[in-house]
Point group: D2
Chain length 371, copies 4
């Protein structure tokens, strides 16, 4: 329903134009230092209205901690994060109240629930993802400083980056979370044109988690990759997820796909490649975890599209108002957050069943268990 995770679990609530959104984060280990400012930093990366390439809705997305933290430390009890909605523009909703927007959840919410909060998409609005980012900030705390989770836009519309130019420091330097400065520059023009045309475009995001210990994942139905897939596919507008080599793996020969192993001088297992994306048999290997997800073009566009009204009559709709021409951009911090949450949850679970089985991928030695 509206909870995600098993042992690190968060439950979100709230609609786009209701008084507030937020989440309860449960299962957080005690005695972690936590401030609103730390959560805010992540929220600010997702916040709308920061460039002309995202919706002009002005939401400060100011998070408040209402429970679960005492004298700056987590207590082990549920943490309520509340974000008030302040820019619910008093607009005329009559059009979207009476028509089902193609590509949106308008129709399915109506069919399933027989009622829908049409204001700004209500519960189905991507505004809900702010709660995910807030919960993700706590998940990062659980994982600790040794785990770094970063995301980048690697394709906008049909335009992919050149991976040879990948530079993580570039990601913060452009409004697209793009690691390739040349692509970022080109996207400015492309996206401006899309926006001016009242059109929209999709995107592909890549996530990389470094420092993840080996041993996370619970085969065969709590596999790490399966849970990452659910976490990312569940983000608004996502239509595809892949791990490591992903769909391209289908076209590889077995010889080329194998990630060879060899012993390192550091006492750890090393790999010749990472087609697996850091996961074998549903369990982390200690290599970086690499996942990608595809976001469809924003469904709110100016070109009129055929649809139905709430009387079942044929009509057309052109969605005016504030939205992102490429929702994939702001999906970057959301994807990072969901990956952090999956990893934090798996960490707590692994600590329960296999406390000795989490850590760097140590080389087996004579006499070590199972060797």
């Amino acid at each position: 329903m509206n909870s995600f995770g098993s042992r690190f679990r968060f439950t979100t609530f709230g609609e786009s134009h209701g008084p507030a959104i937020g989440c309860v984060v449960d299962g957080v280990p005690p005695r972690l230092a936590l401030t609103e400012a730390e959560i805010q930093a992540d929220l600010d990366r997702r916040r709308p209205g920061q460039s002309k390439f995202t919706t002009q809705r002005q939401e400060p997305d100011q998070v408040k901690i209402l429970s679960g933290v005492f004298e700056g430390m987590t207590t082990g009890h549920p943490i309520l994060l509340l974000i008030e909605n302040v820019d619910q523009r008093s607009k005329d909703y009559s059009e979207i109240a009476q028509k089902f927007r193609p590509g949106h959840a308008d129709l399915t919410y109506w069919l399933k629930y027989g009622i829908r909060d049409y204001r700004g998409g209500g519960r189905s609005s991507a505004r809900e993802t702010a709660s995910r980012v807030a919960a993700g900030a706590i998940a990062r705390k659980v994982l600790g400083a040794g785990v770094a989770i970063r995301g980048a836009l690697v394709q906008m519309g049909p335009h992919a980056i050149d991976r040879a130019r990948w530079d993580w420091t570039e990601v913060a330097r452009n409004p697209f979370f793009c690691p390739d400065p040349v692509a970022a520059a080109a996207w400015e023009g492309y996206l401006s044109a899309v926006r001016k045309a009242g059109s929209s475009c999709g995107a592909v995001i890549e996530l990389v988690a470094e420092g993840v210990p080996a041993g996370l994942g619970e085969p065969v139905y709590g596999k790490l990759d399966a849970e990452i897939a659910a976490a990312l596919m569940g983000i608004n507008a996502v239509k595809g997820v892949e791990i490591g080599a992903g769909f391209a793996a289908a076209a590889l020969a077995g010889e080329d796909n194998a990630d060879e192993m060899f012993p390192g001088n550091d006492g750890l297992v090393h790999f010749g490649s990472n087609h697996a994306g850091g996961i074998l048999g549903g369990i982390s290997t200690g290599q970086p975890i690499v996942a990608r997800f595809a976001v469809k073009p924003t469904s709110s566009i100016l070109s009129p599209r055929r649809t139905l009204d709430t009387q079942g009559q044929p009509t057309e709709i052109a969605t005016r108002g504030r939205h992102d021409p490429c929702v994939g951009i702001r999906a970057v911090p959301v994807g990072e957050a969901m990956l952090a949450i999956v990893l934090a949850d798996q960490l707590l679970r692994a600590r329960g069943q296999t406390p000795d089985g989490i850590g760097p991928p140590a080389l087996p030695r004579a006499g070590s268990p199972g060797a």
Copy 2:
């Protein structure tokens, strides 16, 4: 862990070379006619040793129902399905016992658990998927005859089918579940060469579920697409999942991606296209549900690959023995089963919260709730 699903839930057990594998299927509605023969029919589609293109291990995969069925009808209580292993060839396991095969779960199982049943991959063997197929046969019963779930191989190695030639009746006519007879013919030669070279190749499978009622899916963390993603990514060797237009959606313009709606004479909502793959906002629309998943090439290959032994020393391994040169082929019925299971589970859940919200996508009428 080893359970999947919330209200229709199955739990699998068993290792490749243990005495038996199987599963407990829980939550099945009562008074469904069910026989071993019906389950067997699905199992036989996945069974090994049926052509030279799959492993030569001879497993009859004969299923027995040990509980939950009385006088040919389900009772509403857990159904235990047991499949005995009969062809655990008394082979010499010394090589895989002492070396970690690249691409397999050998290393991660060892790191996590400190012990591994190395015989044929133990718990991580794809043999476990027989239990999924058996559970899937019951899921189909829950969905009823109105829902048809079919799968097909649409790409083998780098070779995709021509979708213009798609013919479902072809799927049963070749050993590849291929809907394109021309591609199927070409694949025979291709896969023979791969097999003889001791190499392997990957594949892409497409699943289509028709007749699925609108209203299945639980936003925002029990979305139908998110659960399909988890279900398919959790199958052995899967590296990517997509719904509808999938990754290609990223390159579409908003205008082109929109699935326009119009009223049908049958009183139902109709769509001009199905880029959404039958799911909007995480809820089924009543259109066919379309999902694809990518399977990596079989990790067991004859070409020697660098690896480690259980003393941490560098070595090489070439995997001899019985296996599929393209595990993607037998993944077709497994994918179908997992999709059926997700849909059955969502059906039971939807019936709980929104019993009036499941059915064909009826046109709104004046006075209908929410219209």
Copy 3:
């Protein structure tokens, strides 16, 4: 952790002296009329400070709905209920901050979490139960007007009511939820004496749910009685739970305990008695569900008791401040709420698996399924 229920599920948050408490209620069917006033009515029954027999803390317990309700109707999405704390008296916490109160969770919270919000008991305070009552009000909506759930205090300290005088209308007429006016009058004097002595006493509460359809409960690990037991035992200070004849059943002969059945003219199964408390084999029979639970005496008392301080040194503590001399009184609406929640959850679950198996206990007829 901090969630209860499977399909009707609520998650609570908040500490006694934090800014707010509340809960997220998930799984609520759509299109139920719901107002804050309806929830408030239940909260007011539990509210402190209403007589000299409960804590003098003045909390209005004003509930706000922040999500999940649109134009007065539930939407099927999570409902956030927020109750601000307003009377967190700026008291001197130094004593309870530095000593572990016997009978309270002070020690165990400290041992488990290594940190505790000592202000008013923090998370372990019975203040949390306001959230349960609020969620219970929604559960009652889900059950509908045909199901009536009522509770009464049947024993205060060692003084039990005379069941022959049971009158439900009396329950609202005294500050004890006592159905026996004679006992209520006697308790006034008794509890005044307990209170003046700085002592405390326990209580036994009886809950009765009428109009519950047959068919609720999921054997063998989701039995209705097992979930009621968990729901009631989990209320603060509860030490015992029984169903129907309860512990007294142990002393009955089989002949006397049997609830004989006979056909009614109304087409329903009737029973000669209700030792079973409305539940057989973990499933509701359609008879009234009867449960009782025992509440220990309030642990906060004026008599000094030996304990430890946070340096591990022996000391004494006498708990001054505001609290209930008999916490069992205010546990009555809390118990009702928990019972309502269990029933609502089971209703949604039964509707999923056995939609035809819920209703009044209809007599079997020739040709009816299973007959």
Copy 4:
């Protein structure tokens, strides 16, 4: 449904007169030595037919491990335990097939599922509890040798033991698991008379778990006492559960109920009494955990009782055949098993969130966290 537990989770299957019963035990930590013989030892304590005071059905209850154990050690993967039914006497079921036995689940199963396996009670038979005992044997392994869980019958029918004579060694010396040799002798005559009269009686069982570390339990909805309550109330025929002082606590004064604390020379917290039954605020204190549960008299009796037949007609039934005159006796090992399972599950969960918060109740020291 048919699973119990969160991280140590078992799922049972099977009917009284089907081919087999058993369970899948999931979440078991790897590298625990485990043999069938160890499980068998616990099963033998519950096995029927061992004295004239239990059913004469002769079931060897021979358990087989079909998965999850490799070379004598758990692998961390699901363990399938199978117990074949061998003494399904080919009796005439026509009477119980056509009549609903009072006190049994016959009616509710029929109402809910519309079908019932009437042979020996089918799924609702207490035969299912053999699976619990088998799973409990593994739970004990997870808890380790430092935790001792024992049970005893403390009341048979109306006849309670004299607690002053409690001697654990007596429990194995009589067919009643009675710790009081004088009571045991008296019960022989009493139960013989009950049995000969074709009647039945109830019982109260007390469980004590020693060596349980402090820190187990997850407030506020995964409290240790709440889960014990569910575990015990879910056993067939149980009507009441209490922890520590239980219902008697209601009649105590606050002063008398308080378990005073003082520092021990062993560096641990000591208590002056254990009214709490080893649990405060839902978390174990390190004191012995004490729980009691009441079992109703066996519903199968020779005295005819009024009931209905499957045509809805009034009739009478007297249950002949093999059953226990006091099912409470064999509930002793079942109760022990359920308590072990709850503790094992909570241990794995606590290790996830609060790995530093599990252990003996160490005295706080200056500088220790939270002190």
